[in-house]
Every structure is written in structure tokens, then in C-alpha cells.
Symmetry: C2
Subunit: 276 residues, 2 copies
């Protein structure tokens, strides 16, 4: 039996499973951690979802996602902040200490990356204390540079840390996700820096496979299928002092078309083979 004691499955990897099905499969396979998403949790009911995973003995390793902080329009900004407070509340209800943030892309018609990044800092300064009071840490996820215009102007781990370090580590940290940063030769130093200040709030895995599909959203490869040395990344975050969960988060049309329980079992096996 492989050691799955730190393995967590992100719900999106097997989104064809209902929350009860996911919970049941995790218990059956000896998987102790799940990363959840707001939409399916809300569909099930937040309180009911919290009870379901708690009764099953699962740890909610993260909630995805808050963020989208780059709007200029004041009403739109106010809506984003309110929605993020709700996401923090939901994190607390679910018993997770980590809310993953996808920061947002450029507003329509804007070419001002630096300005967009600065508006993220503004939002964090409002949300950080609110999160801390509820025992939730905000985790800035740098997304691959191919998402810089439309999803996330934070493209490197260094940029994420530059933002996070303006705030206490109890409020704001980062997500280390192999899919987004594997190509970056400055990322290893950034991992060490993040670890030294206690800011690695989540560690997520997905493999890099090509060709990328249109829209480049749903081509994240199963662990072991692509170009990323997973073991090296696990050792890297461990050397930086990270002792938390290792969460596999795949967006992949091919995996979604298959039996969800089978994909979950395969993913756990790949974790044992390529990560441990």
C-alpha cells in the first residue's frame, strides 16, 4: 500500500463525481485530503458539504477560488471584494485554512499590467485581516504566463511573493503549482524564499503536456504524462520546509470523459509512482 498520507485530490480533477461520490471514493481508497471548489460546494450546500467531508474524516486542503481583483470600475471592485468575503466565510465553514486566489487578468481594453497588479495589492489589504479573523490564509496562485491577459496578471512565483510579502504570512501566502511555474529557472529560488517566510500555503501538481488545446484551459496532463519532474518539485518544497498536503489538480477533458472513480484511483497511483 502506497503512502497516501499527504495526498489530496482536487475536486476539479474528477469533476464528474458528485461530492458524495468523491467523498465515498476517497474513504474507500484511503485518501485523506480534498481540495474543493466553490460552485459544486454551493450546489450541494456549504453547511451540508462541510458536514459530509467532516463526517468522512477528510481534510479540506484548500478552497478554490477567490480573486479577480483587477477591475477598475468601483462597483465591479466592490462586488469582487464582497464575493471574496463570502469565499473566506465558506472556507471557514468547510474548515480549510487556505483560500486559493486567481488574481484576474487585464480589464477590457487595458494594457496596463503594472496597474492591474497594484489593484491586487489594494484588495489584499482589505481582505487579509478579514481572512485572518476567520482562520483563513489567502494563497496567491501565479498562473502560467499564457493566462496573463485574461485570467491572472501574476505570472511568476516571484511576483506572487512580492505581493504576498507586503502582508503578514498569517494573512497572505502563495500556491506553488508545478503546471504554472515548471519552466521558470528562477522558481526554485522563489520556492526557498517562500518557505523561509512560511508562505507556501498550498502545493499543487499537474503535468505539462502538448499540444495545448484551444483556449489552453483544459490540457493539464495526468501526473507522469508530461515534461515535469514531479519528484524534484516535491523535494524542492520539502527542502523549503513545506510539510503540508500535495494536491493534484488537473483540468483535462480526456480525464473528465472517463469514470471518475477510476481516474481518482489512477491519480493516486501516479502520485505514488512519480511523486513519492
Amino acid at each position: 500500500m502506497s503512502d497516501l498520507s499527504r495526498f489530496s485530490i482536487n475536486q476539479m480533477t474528477v469533476k464528474q463525481l458528485t461530492l458524495p461520490e468523491l467523498t465515498e471514493s476517497c474513504v474507500r481508497l484511503g485518501i485523506g485530503g480534498v481540495g474543493l471548489w466553490r460552485e459544486p460546494v454551493q450546489a450541494h450546500g456549504v453547511e451540508a458539504a462541510a458536514k459530509l467531508v467532516r463526517d468522512a474524516g477528510l481534510t479540506v486542503t484548500s478552497l478554490c477560488r477567490g480573486g479577480f481583483f483587477t477591475a477598475i470600475d468601483p462597483a465591479e471592485r466592490a462586488r469582487a471584494l464582497a464575493d471574496n468575503r463570502a469565499a473566506i466565510d465558506e472556507s471557514a465553514t468547510l474548515g480549510t485554512d487556505t483560500l486559493v486566489l486567481v488574481s484576474g487578468g487585464l480589464p477590457r481594453g487595458s494594457r496596463d499590467l503594472a496597474g492591474a497588479r497594484e489593484r491586487i495589492a489594494d484588495a489584499l489589504s482589505e481582505l487579509g485581516p478579514y481572512a485572518q479573523e476567520r482562520g483563513v490564509r489567502l494563497a496567491i496562485e501565479p498562473l502560467h504566463p499564457m493566462y496573463a491577459s485574461d485570467r491572472c496578471v501574476v505570472s511568476t512565483l516571484t511576483q506572487a511573493l512580492d505581493l504576498a510579502e507586503r502582508f503578514p504570512s498569517s494573512q497572505v501566502g502563495v500556491v506553488v503549482d508545478t503546471y504554472h511555474i515548471w519552466w521558470d529557472d528562477t522558481a526554485p529560488a522563489a520556492v526557498a524564499r517562500a518557505g523561509a517566510s512560511g508562505r507556501i500555503h498550498a502545493f499543487q501538481l499537474a503535468d505539462w503536456t502538448t499540444p495545448l488545446p484551444a483556449g489552453v484551459l483544459n490540457g493539464r496532463g495526468q501526473i507522469g504524462d508530461g515534461s515535469i519532474d514531479m519528484r524534484e518539485w516535491r523535494e524542492r518544497v520539502a527542502a523549503a520546509g513545506y510539510r503540508g498536503w500535495v494536491e493534484v489538480e488537473l483540468f483535462n477533458e480526456g480525464l473528465w470523459a472517463r469514470d471518475g472513480a477510476e481516474v481518482l484511483e489512477e491519480t493516486a497511483a501516479r502520485y505514488a509512482q512519480f511523486v513519492l
Copy 2:
């Protein structure tokens, strides 16, 4: 009449035009520079192509492309070096001083980015003197990180410079291409560094538009259609001391489906509107 005195059209932008058609259109529109590609030049005949553009009074601002240096297999490496010597010879025949290098991706099954990058340096040390003797400079083009596994393990301008600076600037420099580096907040400092050592060997423009097409190769946006502040980048390379050509290189199925001469005229107009 707009000032097109530094505007160069890369042949790939209007690949539906034959070389004689391209030459004729450039002369008619007052465009003085063309960036050429090896395959269409070879199809026309290298000597004949050189005479055609020379007789038309055009400057060949660059030749694309050499590179693909990351193979491990010795026979494959020898073939790559021979092919790059041929590309250098062709550059000299065409009268251009700049050969653009796309360095190559990971060999099949490899996950060793650092090793691949080191093999590029090995190749440059063999090719640099050969190029210099023929009056040709090798220009390392960092490609967007979304190409790191399958096309180019050099993903940032800083990485390209780290490689180039191991050699004399008369042998090896870099390409600054907005499409590949626009998202990178460390790129402005790298541009200044490249300029200070005389290593900006080419400056290319393409705009960033989404959604990206499948395979992410042919979605480079027409100037002005996307997220990149072109004027800011032109001023940035100028501040770094660059006084050379500004070459527009677009790979775009939509543009290729249109009348080539019309696309050329539109591209020159966009240059005047968004770059000057």
C-alpha cells in the same frame, strides 16, 4: 505619409505572398526592410532571392531560423550544427547580419530543462566563430513559456542573455519579441542589460490576443488588436540604445486567409498608429 524608415515586414506575416510579390509590394508601399525565412528563400533559390531583394533596394533585416540545439543523440546534434552552418551561409548570401535562433525544446522523454539549456551553450560555442567570420550575428530568441517543452527551453530574455553573455556580442545576442516577453516584469531590466552590451540584435513585434488557438502557434495578433503596449516597448528598446529595424512577425491564420498585399498595407498602417 507615415515614417516607415525603420519598419520591416517579416515574411511569415504575409506568407501567402511569393517572394517577388512581397518585394514588389514593399517597394510600392515604401517599406525598406524584410525579415526572411529559410524555406521560402530556398524554394526561390538563395542566390536568386538575394539578387531579387538587393535589386529592389530592400534590406534583409533577419533570417529565420537556426537553432534546435537540444538533442542528446550525437548524430542528431551533428546534423543540427551542419544545418546551422548552412543557415549562417544563407544569411551571409542574403546580406543580413542577423540569424534568429529558436533553441529547441526538451528531447522526447526528457524532463531536464537545465541540461537542454546547457547543450545550447555548447552549440553556440561551435557556431559563434563560424558566424562571425561571415559577418553574421546569432540572435537567441526567448520564446513564450508555453513553448518551453516542445520548441524552446529559453523562455525569458534574462535566460537568453545569460546564454549570450558567455560569448562576444559580435557573435551572440538576443531577439526582443514583444509576443514572447510582454508579460514578464523582469523583461524591462533585461532589455536595458541587453542594450548596454550591444546585444539587441533584433526587435520584433506581435500582439497578444486570446483565446489562443489549439497548438498555440498561429494566434499572434495584429498590432493594436491585443494587450501589448507597443509604443512602450519601442521606447524601451530605444532607451536601451537600439537604433535598428522594427520587424513585425505575425503567425495568424486569419491574416493568412486574406489578400497578402492588403494585410501588408494594414500592418504598416498599424505600425504607424500603435508603434510610432
